[in-house]
């Protein structure tokens, strides 16, 4: 009980380390592989000689030198240029376009998931509906995503990416994210499970007899677990966003990471993975702050009037 601050503190430390650790590990992995890093990143048959490339990309300074140079640039918003996917284009520009798009996609996907969570908490979504959500959740994102992509393509054409077509892709992608791979089903059943287990506690029964509501008693106690579950759901959506964005050709962070991977563009992958790490770190901070607030609320002595 006296060490309630350990978990939030660990999360905050993890949140600070994550955006540094991810690019650092990626860099080390490239050097850990057998062979010359410049040749691994861009084979000589594709990029010509590797000595010039190594110098241009600061690969000749070793992993520490490369990482120092990259991190110093990244802190000022300079993520270098794409090496293979869109040769010569500033990765920072790609990120500036991709991150807001992914955040919009996540926000849209969060609407049905959030409604599901609220419905489960308030009981407006009956437990009888859970099997339906479960069946819907069995659909893989690739299948629902293909259906959404086909609908968008039939309605707007394959090459339409602006205006209504852009929003159709975003809304379609958000619905796919929310309903496929058990995202909504997990959110609804997970939340319902948390609250129903807590509602069976004896103190809740006594509180109800005193005329208090179940929710006002259970919420403070399940809040840390609920926030943890919600973070896991957002991570789940972020993970799914890679597939959905690539399928529906939404210019988001997931599409950027996918493009970087499939084109073996280390510069793009490094930046995109770091952006994902920053988003994950932000989620950790939110969870830590929520845990601290709940802990302070629970420990606050009830006001008792003087006799």
């Amino acid at each position: 009980m006296t060490r309630w601050w350990i978990r939030p503190l660990v999360r905050l430390v993890a949140a600070l380390l994550l955006p540094v650790a991810v690019p650092a590990i990626l860099t080390l992995l490239i050097w850990a592989l057998p062979g010359d890093p410049a040749s691994i990143i861009c084979p000589p048959e594709t990029c010509g000689g590797s000595a010039g490339l190594a110098e241009r990309w600061h690969l000749d300074d070793g992993p520490m030198g490369f990482f120092r140079h990259w991190a110093a640039g990244a802190l000022h918003g300079d993520f270098g240029r794409s090496w293979r996917m869109l040769q010569g284009v500033e990765v920072g520009e790609l990120l500036a376009e991709a991150v807001p798009t992914t955040l919009v996609l996540l926000a849209l996907a969060g609407v049905p998931v959030g409604l599901g969570v609220v419905g489960a908490v308030t009981g407006r979504l009956p437990a009888k509906a859970d099997p339906l959500f479960h069946v819907l959740g069995l659909m893989p994102s690739i299948v629902l995503g293909l259906a959404a992509a086909a609908l968008v393509q039939l309605e707007f054409g394959a090459g339409a990416f602006d205006g209504s077509a852009r929003w159709a892709r975003l809304v379609g992608g958000a619905l796919v994210l929310a309903f496929s791979d058990g995202a909504l089903a997990g959110a609804v059943t997970g939340t319902r499970g948390l609250f129903s287990a807590e509602a069976r506690q004896r103190y809740v029964g006594i509180a109800v007899l005193r005329g208090e509501t179940v929710l006002s008693n259970t919420l403070p106690n399940v809040a840390p677990a609920l926030v943890g579950q919600l973070r896991a759901r957002v991570l789940h959506l972020l993970s799914g966003a890679v597939i959905v964005e690539a399928l529906l050709e939404i210019n988001g962070l997931g599409d950027l990471l996918w493009g970087g991977t499939i084109w073996q563009d280390f510069g793009v992958v490094l930046a995109a993975a770091t952006a994902f790490a920053v988003l994950s770190a932000a989620l950790l901070v939110v969870q830590a702050v929520a845990e601290v607030l709940v802990a302070l609320h629970v420990r606050r002595a009830p006001a008792v009037g003087a006799e």
């Binding site: 992995l29 592989l33 690739i142 789940h236 966003a241 991977t261 992958v269 994950s280």
Partner: protein
């Protein structure tokens, strides 16, 4: 229903699961090493004209897609399920032994491993695997390791509800051996439903992962991250079938086969979870 009756009621699910996974392994076993030569005169022939599944846009049998696709994913998916099952058992047993320090480390590691979106880690692993040795195995194992903390957590919660170390002490007091307590009572009777369900789900997720990665590679006209170019994944069926959806090509049978294979894997996964459920 009596215990024997309940056990009997699980038989259909068990048989269905065995049939589903058996079909997958049989498909994999019959996979030819290379794609057959194209025969344009047989392009898009239906299952009636070219049994059992019809032909693709180049007149090649879709049977090859089904078998080669199964050979890409069957064993990696099963391996991923096995890894998750093993780690879930570990998580449950650690909680049951009451080893608080180890349990804390396990939970801490789970938090760290689960801090990043899984697909990001999988794609980073795919990036560093040399192009000439690409396979689903490293991605499947990575996915399993990333999914393991959730499974370990759930198994640990089951062990805790059981009474944790007090349950073990109680059985020891009855004179049971450690092997009987942990293997039979904790893992066999209590952790089994969770462990099997988690393993089946992760196996299914690995299949979907392969489909998604291969489809996107095909759509981008790039080499696959999960298999050699001489082999066709089930994603090829979806890719061929997609043309039926958007430009009305005669490839509906390819889409039906692709969706059917996905349903087979999903059904087998559900059936195995149902067969292993608690009494």
């Amino acid at each position: 229903m009596s215990g024997a009756g309940r056990r009997f009621s699980r038989w259909p699910s068990g048989l269905l699961a065995a049939a589903g996974f058996g079909a997958l392994l049989v498909f994999a076993a019959f996979a030819p090493e290379f794609l057959p030569d194209p025969d344009p005169s047989r392009a898009w022939q239906g299952p009636g004209e070219m049994p059992p599944f019809g032909a693709d846009d180049r007149g090649r049998s879709l049977w090859v897609y089904a078998t080669q696709g199964a050979s890409i994913l069957a064993w990696p998916a099963l391996l991923a399920g096995f890894v998750v099952a093993l780690l879930a058992v570990f998580g449950g047993v650690v909680r049951a032994t009451g080893a608080a320090r180890l349990d804390g480390w396990v939970q801490g590691m789970g938090e760290v491993v689960g801090a990043l979106p899984r697909m990001v880690v999988v794609l980073v692993v795919a990036l560093i695997v040399p192009a000439d040795s690409r396979s689903l195995y490293p991605l499947a194992v990575t996915w399993a390791l990333l999914a393991a903390p959730g499974a370990m957590d759930e198994a640990a919660a089951v062990a805790e509800r059981l009474g944790g170390s007090r349950f073990v002490e109680a059985l020891r007091a009855h004179g049971y051996s450690a092997a009987r307590i942990f293997l039979l009572h904790i893992v066999g009777y209590n952790l089994r439903p969770v462990v099997v369900r988690q393993a089946a789900e992760v196996s299914m997720q690995v299949v979907f992962l392969e489909l998604a990665l291969s489809y996107l590679a095909l759509a981008g006209d790039r080499p696959s991250l999960t298999h050699a170019d001489s082999v066709m994944s089930w994603a090829g069926l979806l890719s061929q079938g997609y043309t039926w959806l958007v430009i009305d090509m005669e490839s509906g049978h390819a889409l039906a086969l692709g969706l059917g294979l996905i349903a087979l894997v999903t059904g087998a996964s559900l059936a195995v979870s149902h067969a292993a459920r608690a009494r």
